[in-house]
């Protein structure tokens, strides 16, 4: 990857951070589209692996962003993508946090939140829809995904245990 491409990546992620009405929920499909479908920097399955690695780590699940950058072009790309992602958000959020704590009942704020909530939910399902075929091609994988949903909805088991069970199922050759 040359400097032009790296610059392009930086600008793209800066742009993306302004578009992002949701780190994980809404950036993921767009990032997938850019990195996998438009530029072919990695396969869909590799993208899903980077996402999974970040999920296993404790902390914010935006950590898949530097991982994807690292996979594309090493540490420099990872740092570039992380800075582009964080820089605008922390500053602006602090300002908005101030307003929200002072005026939690501001009518227009409520309208914006109410209006965007359904879109957010739609984008979360879009992320699942896009990644599912990347991680599994047969019914056993879909069954495991469905089982995961059922377990999480029915129990308060720590999801890390569910991830560990997934790893065990993979190693046992079940999926």
């Amino acid at each position: 990857m040359d400097w032009t491409q790296l610059g392009g990546l930086f600008l793209y992620f800066l742009m993306l951070s302004f578009l992002a009405i949701g780190g994980n929920a809404s950036v993921l499909p767009e990032m997938h589209r850019y990195v996998v479908e438009v530029h072919g920097y990695m396969t869909s399955a590799q993208f899903a692996e980077m996402y999974t690695l970040a999920q296993v780590a404790p902390g914010p699940n935006i950590m898949y962003i530097p991982l994807v950058g690292w996979h594309i072009a090493g540490w420099l790309a990872a740092a570039v993508m992380m800075v582009a992602t964080l820089l605008p958000s922390a500053t602006l959020t602090l300002a908005i946090a101030h307003l929200y704590v002072r005026h939690p009942k501001a009518a227009f704020g409520i309208a914006i939140r109410r209006g965007l909530t359904p879109i957010t939910i739609g984008l979360v399902f879009a992320s699942g829809w896009i990644l599912l075929p990347a991680v599994s091609q047969d019914w056993r994988g879909y069954a495991l995904a469905a089982l995961t949903v059922a377990v999480v909805m029915r129990t308060s088991l720590n999801p890390l245990w569910v991830l560990a069970a997934g790893a065990a199922a993979g190693m046992a050759g079940l999926v």
Binding site: F18, E30, A57, G59, I96, I110, T120, A134, V152
Partner: protein
């Protein structure tokens, strides 16, 4: 996000489900990654500007180090068959966790047609049609906010 909802709402009870979803919506409204925005919002809500700063630093520092370690492990062991199998099993569960989170937060939607129609349209546009997020949001967000403003959802 899945883990933070679990901790703040279900375990520590620092925030109600409603507060959490509202903050999530604000976090998503703002440019930037919503996990980080959530950290700033929750930190500020619980302990003011210093809380926001502490929350952000804590949120980013350790995970960065861990992700570096993971990347190195992946480089060395990523092609070992057993590791590949484990990773593919975990990937499926990770996708299941996304769907489960969507299902959980969908409980806050009222039982009316319009909110569900917006959720469905966002899913179709970005997930199935693979349209750019910019286009989908640019078209949908004004209508959704206008509908909410008029009390229709």
């Amino acid at each position: 996000m899945f883990f933070s909802r679990r901790m703040f709402v279900e375990q520590r009870r620092w925030l109600t489900e409603q507060e959490f979803v509202e903050m999530l919506s604000i976090a998503q409204l703002l440019p930037g990654a919503n996990g980080v925005n959530m950290a700033v919002l929750i930190g500020y809500r619980l302990a003011g500007p210093l809380g926001a700063a502490a929350s952000l630093c804590g949120f980013i520092a350790a995970p960065c180090a861990i992700v570096v370690a993971l990347a190195l492990l992946y480089r060395h062991f990523g092609s070992v068959p057993l590791v590949r199998d484990a990773l593919s099993g975990m990937s499926i569960v990770a996708v299941g966790l996304i769907i489960a989170m969507g299902t959980k937060i969908a409980h806050v939607l009222q039982r009316r047609v319009l909110p569900w129609a917006f959720a469905f349209a966002a899913f179709i546009g970005v997930g199935v049609m693979r349209w750019p997020l910019l286009a989908v949001l640019g078209v949908m967000a004004p209508f959704a906010i206008a509908a909410a403003w008029k009390g229709k959802m």
